[in-house]
Symmetry: none
Subunit: 198 residues, 4 copies
DNA sequence: CATGAATGAGTCTTCATTCAT
DNA sequence: CATGAATGAAGACTCATTCAT
């Protein structure tokens, strides 16, 4: 419990520091200091600095995916699911600001990590989208010619770019709900058979 | 001419190395070696390592924007313009693989550079999209309730994610033209008044 | 204790290396090696190479000044004090050969350090001389027209030049005691009312 | 003539830059720039950076020694000669400020140069003093127990320290003539048989 | 002779990681 | 388990010197 606590404190501190400084400009010393542990202690829980980053990602993604799936189970309509996905994704960015920044800026983006990324969590997350689209297609709501494997990336990309803007810009013109609405409007209409359905 | 050549060689080498290793894992020594110049020579043309990265970005973006605008002038219909934008963007990713990787992976994404980025080229590029949308709205082709400032990021995000996937994955399931078609299909339908227009 | 030991070892090694090679031709690597610590360790105790030099100076001067004052307290006659000052100064040069060389050659003399020198230790040291002269003047032993602020520099300069010669030359013609005698003879006679008093 | 001019310009520029920045912090590029020649040109006239410094010293010393000897020939009395020497030395410091700074700060003091100094000019200069003293002793004016070889360093050291102070301090309390008077007063009285002779 | 672009050896400093306590 | 002092490898950058023109 106490150990777990220490581990968590390290991860949290790392997320904060990575978010503010970026991975390469973050110092183990600062993370240790913020987590109130000795530098060496970090190496009792993690192999190296890299593992800190990937662990934050994998662990947080597991939570996010679980939450997302639970949330999506509450609605049945694929369009509503897509809408919910969009809303939840953006809401998470807002709620978990620091962790979002790390993903946004360091992990999704750092060469080293992207090329070496062996986890399945990111794929799992994207596949939530394609599953919804497939179901929608089976139900005759979404156009059959849409390729779920591409569409999932289109939606994720749109969300991601908006998140990126959200995370980096200090003066934001549009609220997250307006933005979510806008993305939903365009994407769902874009993939739907009946464009007026939304 | 010779100088320019040397400068270009350095930039090209830097783009290659940054693309393969990432900014922080790239070594000036390797760039110099690849450019066939001495390490010190790099500092005759650029202030420091950072400037190499931003120069690559700004310089290349200027070319891309110019090319894109010229290309877009060839068509009049906003839908065609959007379609062309999508095609050209993806084609460029393919043509300028190494530079694309740098943008994709280091610049757009590195904290330091994003937060310090003072250039206008990226905004200029995004605004090409919003201009097209605005024109389309005036002509009554695109839905009036679409917010160009958000829509531009949605399209760019979609393109960017696809590019990212394209750049990073080694085994690609879909051709660029299929992908371009898919994005155009969804996005244009998403923002159009007449959804069957595409 | 151990830390202090390490710090001292570094200072001692630095003094040795600076003395032999001069500040700019000294390498941190060599100092670390001589102190039997890793290069990085030096930076745990000192901000940078410059600080090593100034620390050596300030620290050593504090000791020298204290010792000198204690020694001078043992005699009362201003002439004897001057004589003692001269003897002690030269003796110190001989005893603390390496540190003396650093002062003689690098610190007192390096542009950067002299111009940036903010410490008071050097002034404190010089003022020991002027105080003695002032007292001698009040007692009617030294000529009233002597300006202590100049005279202190005359004596220090004489001592310093002799020290410099002493430090740099390998074959010395005169012993330190002979030299001390000579300086005392000239200087005290030079400032005394009664020239035959010495 | 033109060549000589170029050589002189380089030496003058070097003296200026060395004086302001110190030898190790001076850049060949800056010297070249100030001399209005290309960097490479400097190496047509001088072997390396070191030689620039020693040449400045030797060349300037030759002039100074010649001037000094000429000046001293105008008076006969050893005491007057000493007085003149002091006055001229300090006046030169004032007249040739930049060159004086170089000597004061870099050359006399830099380990490398002092230890490697093979020239005779410095010794020649010092020996002017000891010669005067010897003559004074023969004439029965100066005390026979004074050792000219030490006394010359005492006087030079006094002058040098005063010069050093003069060169480095920005706010000077005493004029050069007052200072010269003071040194002469103390030194001549210090070495004279008849202390009231000055 | 003159140039100045190019060179590349050289070094301070940083910081992830280790390990004795 | 925890510590944090110590390590030392690694790399950006500088600048005296060279050499093709």
């Amino acid at each position: 419990m106490d150990n777990n606590d220490k581990r968590e404190r390290i991860l949290k501190a790392a997320a904060q520091v990575f978010a503010r400084k970026g991975f390469y400009n973050s110092r183990i010393a600062e993370i240790a200091n913020k987590a109130n542990v000795a530098e060496g202690t970090i190496y009792l829980y993690f192999t190296n600095k890299d593992e800190l980053l990937t662990t934050i990602f994998e662990q947080e993604m597991a939570v996010v995916i679980a939450e997302m799936k639970e949330e999506l189970n509450k609605v049945d309509d694929p369009k509503d699911k897509i809408k919910k996905f969009i809303e939840r994704h953006l809401a998470l960015i807002d709620e978990k600001r620091e962790i979002a920044e790390v993903f946004q800026i360091e992990l999704r983006q750092s060469h080293k990590f992207m090329k070496e990324y062996k986890g399945t969590k990111f794929r799992d997350y994207l596949n939530i989208i394609s599953s919804i689209i497939s179901i929608g297609q089976k139900r005759g709501m979404f156009r059959a010619d849409i390729i779920p494997g591409i569409a999932k990336r289109i939606l994720f990309g749109a969300l991601d770019e908006i998140s990126n803007y959200w995370v980096l810009s200090t003066t934001r013109q549009f609220s997250l709900s307006v933005t979510a609405e806008e993305i939903a409007k365009i994407f769902i209409r874009g993939i739907s058979l009946d464009p007026n359905s939304i």
